[in-house]
Amino acid sequence: MSDNQRKILEMLAEGKIKVDEAQRLLSLVDSGRGNSVGADSSASKSAPRYLYVVVEPKPGASSERKHSRVNVRVPFGLIKAGMKLTALMPAEAAEKVNAAMREKGMDFDLRRLKYEDIEELIIALRDSHINVDTDDETVRVYAE
């Protein structure tokens, strides 16, 4: 029995509230707990487990592309574990990687990438679907 439920029953016993009011308060307390549990479970459910990259040919594709298919499924745990490896990268190697990325127009420091940022990115990816339609094939990137 939670503290709130106990307080409600004590108030009922002391005559401060009526039975109907106590019943309503108890149902509110129960639904409040149910909502928080639901929110927790939905938050935990919202983190996708796999990243999918699917390339499929279209019905009218050229003969070269007709039989080309790619199906890649990457667990996000693997991506997170790989991102943690950047912490082990020697400083000289990290500088070279950052310099190469800067040359390509990405001013991004690999070593400042935090695990919490990756978690938020992964949760946000659940609602992201990338679909690329070409004449011969469709490319889908999504997370589930």
Binding site: E64, S68, N71, V72, R73, P75, G77, L78, A81, P90
Partner: protein, 96 residues
């Protein structure tokens, strides 16, 4: 709780050949670990000696930290799948 993969499926196929393999990693893994342990025991005195002389250079830290990182990667492999097909050729690798 994450676990290492217990099965690996490999498949190669082209117009003339077809090759499929199911590797029981739950058997091969422990065998490999025993072999690795034996190798470590042989190499251990030399490792200690090199630790003694190179500790202050500081590059042992990434070596030690890479072991749990490698284990994390291995335990994240279940579910990893690559399946590429192109004009009758196929390459697939799936971890269960």
């Amino acid at each position: 709780m994450k676990r290492p993969p217990y099965l690996l499926k490999l498949r190669f196929r082209d117009s003339r050949h077809s090759f499929g393999l199911w590797l029981p990693l739950f058997i091969l893994g422990p065998v490999f670990l025993v072999f690795l342990l034996a190798l470590c025991l042989i190499v251990l005195p030399f490792v200690f000696l090199s630790l003694l002389f190179t500790w202050r250079w500081g590059w042992w830290r990434p070596v030690f930290l890479s072991v749990p990182a490698f284990l994390r990667i291995v335990c994240s492999l279940p579910g990893f799948k690559i399946d590429v097909r192109d004009n009758g050729r196929q390459f697939a690798i799936i971890f269960f």
